[in-house]
Subunit: 455 residues, 2 copies
């Protein structure tokens, strides 16, 4: 007998996890489509060269690559993708003459990283990415935030905050302090401000660069931290924090760009809040303009559930054509963790709200035909496959989220009637006429929906 | 510069392929859910031992396995799944105490086989499987055919035929001819009857078993072929073809079972046709009861687009618990090939039917806000991100399937109006009031929908 376990760091999703996941993914797809984003698919397996090209992934990610070989194949040639961005870059370069720009695509799929297994960290996880490629317009930046907001709202995420910044502003500050060459360690330290607090970041900024710190003077560290703290909020905070460095061109342009994005977002009245945070650093190696992070209100410590930004040149590894763009990635696994923690998983009626149950002695065609009629009328219904005890059939239905049971036995069969039981209240209407099956069930479901909505 | 090609035998899906694919998958998910099937997910990577256990896959499939290794991992330990059935068996065994039976699951995902690359054959392809595990009731068999029929119908497949057979009947025939030990080569030959015709199968059946044939006498071959040809149709064909061997218990039981499945299906009036074909062999090594194949009418030569059957014991490799079940797999790639060939890909309105275009000199917030209003009203809309020439914006919209353009310029902005252009007829209504934007667009879309439907 073979042990049915999964490999270390991988997992099975049981229906209780897979059902809300599937529901949220279908809402994401719906949202992306509403904005004119179209799906593409790339293989899970890429050529190794594509994944390990200079700058494709961080050293850490490259160490975690899963190599793939088949009999007769050359070792070291193929690997599993570790994100959806490198495949997008390859795709855009390969099909640059067929796509038409601006090209707005979404992609939802598994990516693989051989990380050390740990609680809540998996070696296969799902990314939900969308990007607008081939546009330098701030409309595309504002739309990116609006898509995040619409997707989270449709997924039932409740209150959330989208934080935006512009790389030019933060770069300008560092330049004004003579710290342009230390942006790497400064930004890495700043990124942890919300998590670890000012004091801890200050000591990180002041630590000798020889021991991995940023090597700032106490005064420089204070300036950086003041700037990050003052520059959190709306237009006023943006103006106040940048007043001293506003004469610098890149700062002025960054501030104007952020204000324009805020204007556009205001015109669209998105759900959730959008705030500026001049301390938001977020992978600035790759991003060159606006950057985004999103947290669920009250659950900030879980980290960002949707992040992204603008880049100058998506596919420089693969084509000489310059492809600027902007995009974001929704972290499905983290979002689901937060929603479960926040008990915001939704209590929609199951897509199969009806169980058709039958007593022994009933012809199987009777319940089977009734369930088929309900489905044709657009009402999900299943028949318990064996005429076991009605109590056990009811239990099966309740455990699977059925709201109503249509029950038939030999007597009902003869009379052309059925009984309709509410599986929660156990109230039962008996002897309803089969000719009005669909209407009766639909009305009963409407009542249940209204009752649940009013709770 | 790195070559942006994909590895041999793999492929990118551009939007024109990915959009109909996504639409059909969402209809499959909807169908499965309507019948009470729930999603599960298993990792793309399984332990090698799970995939190569005795009987998990054919020798051919095992030769095609992709091995997976990461730094620090042990070579030979992990591999990519080659189907969704072996992972289901492992899953059912691992979680047998949590699932509750009957357990009805669906799974949609990529599987990997290192086949020799050829036209239309890919090393990564999608399977759409659904199974009812833990029930021996013919209701579950009939439901399997009904799910296939409902899914194909909802996917817009047009006319199709589901062919069913029962292993017991074919086994009984071979036994009555003293050929029980030759069922393997006989069934493999029979499986090609529709494709290559009677004569070719007859010579295959008569060929010496030492050279890979079935080694039947001419009379035996004729009996088998007569049986297969007579036994195609409805209940009458079933009765006629089996009359001579009906006294055998397994034949009688098989015929009764098939008749019961036909009764159940009749009570549900499924779309499409269901016919019996006593010559349908279909992987009888694995299946033990009813088997299914499905062809699109007029495109039979493309082969089956949905196949499956009943099995006695799903997970004997992993658990001593006996798990009988029945299920089927819809071949998405083949179905899409046929639908494209048959021009049945559907001409639904795009989920983003509106382009909001704007003349230079318009504030970007105006089109951006109008598009947002449309989306809130449930109408997909996108803004072209730059105020390039209106003609080019219209072209962009037409190419992407937008039906209507909402157009604004500085004059409209001042007057609070917009122009509405039908992108197909180029008819334009000018100076419509922005306060009735949603209603105007909705009515215009209704007209377009009605016109397209009447064509």
């Amino acid at each position: 007998m073979i042990d049915p376990r999964v490999a270390s760091g991988l997992r099975d999703l049981l229906p209780r996890a897979a059902i809300p996941r599937e529901r949220i993914l279908s809402r994401f797809r719906e949202t992306f489509a509403r904005f004119g984003f179209v799906p593409i698919e790339t293989p899970h397996i890429e050529r190794m060269e594509v994944l390990t090209g200079k700058g494709a992934g961080s050293d850490e990610v490259l160490r975690q690559i899963f190599e793939v070989t088949n009999k007769g194949g050359t070792p070291g040639e193929l690997a599993l993708r570790f994100d959806l961005t490198v495949p997008l870059a390859r795709f855009a370069a390969r099909h640059e003459n067929e796509l038409g720009f601006p090209f707005k695509r979404y992609a939802i799929g598994s990516v693989f990283r051989g990380e050390r297994p740990a609680k809540g960290r998996f070696r296969e996880f799902t990314q939900c990415d969308f990007d607008t490629i081939g546009s330098e317009s701030p409309l595309a930046d504002a739309e990116t935030a609006l898509v995040i907001a619409s997707a989270l709202s449709l997924a039932g995420a409740g209150g959330f905050t989208i934080v935006i910044n512009h790389r030019g502003v933060l770069d300008g500050l560092l330049e004004s302090l003579g710290l342009a060459d230390r942006s790497g360690p400064v930004l890495r330290a700043l990124d942890r401000l919300a998590k670890v607090g000012r004091e801890s970041v200050a000591s990180e900024l002041a630590r000798e660069s020889s021991s991995g710190g940023a090597g700032l003077s106490d005064e420089q560290a204070a300036r950086v931290l003041d700037f990050a703290e003052q520059g959190r909020g709306g237009r006023d905070a943006l103006a106040t924090a940048t007043a001293a460095i506003a004469p610098m061109k890149r700062v002025r342009e960054g501030v104007e760009y952020l204000n324009l994005v805020l204007d556009l977002l205001e015109s669209a009245s998105p759900p959730g809040r959008v705030v500026v945070d001049l301390g938001l650093a977020r992978g600035l190696d790759y991003y060159t303009g606006v950057v985004y992070e999103t947290t669920i209100d009250g659950y900030e410590s879980f980290g960002s559930v949707a992040s992204g930004g603008r880049y100058d040149n998506l596919a420089s590894l693969f084509t000489s054509r310059k492809l600027p763009g902007v995009g974001a990635s929704i972290g499905l696994d983290r979002l689901l963790t937060v929603l479960e923690e926040a008990r915001r998983m939704g209590s929609d009626l199951s897509p199969t709200p009806v169980l058709v149950a039958y007593f022994p002695g009933t012809r199987a065609t009777t319940p089977f035909g009734l369930a088929a009629r309900l489905r044709v009328a657009g009402i999900g219904a299943e028949v318990y496959p064996e005429p076991i005890s009605i109590g056990k059939q009811m239990q099966y239905g309740s455990e699977r989220g059925r709201a109503l049971a249509v029950i038939v036995g030999p007597d009902e069969e003869k009379a052309g009637t059925f009984n309709l039981r509410d599986l929660q209240t156990r109230k039962e209407d008996r002897g309803l006429d089969c000719s009005v099956l669909e209407d009766s069930v639909e009305s009963a479901l409407e009542v249940i929906k209204r009752e649940r909505a009013s709770k």
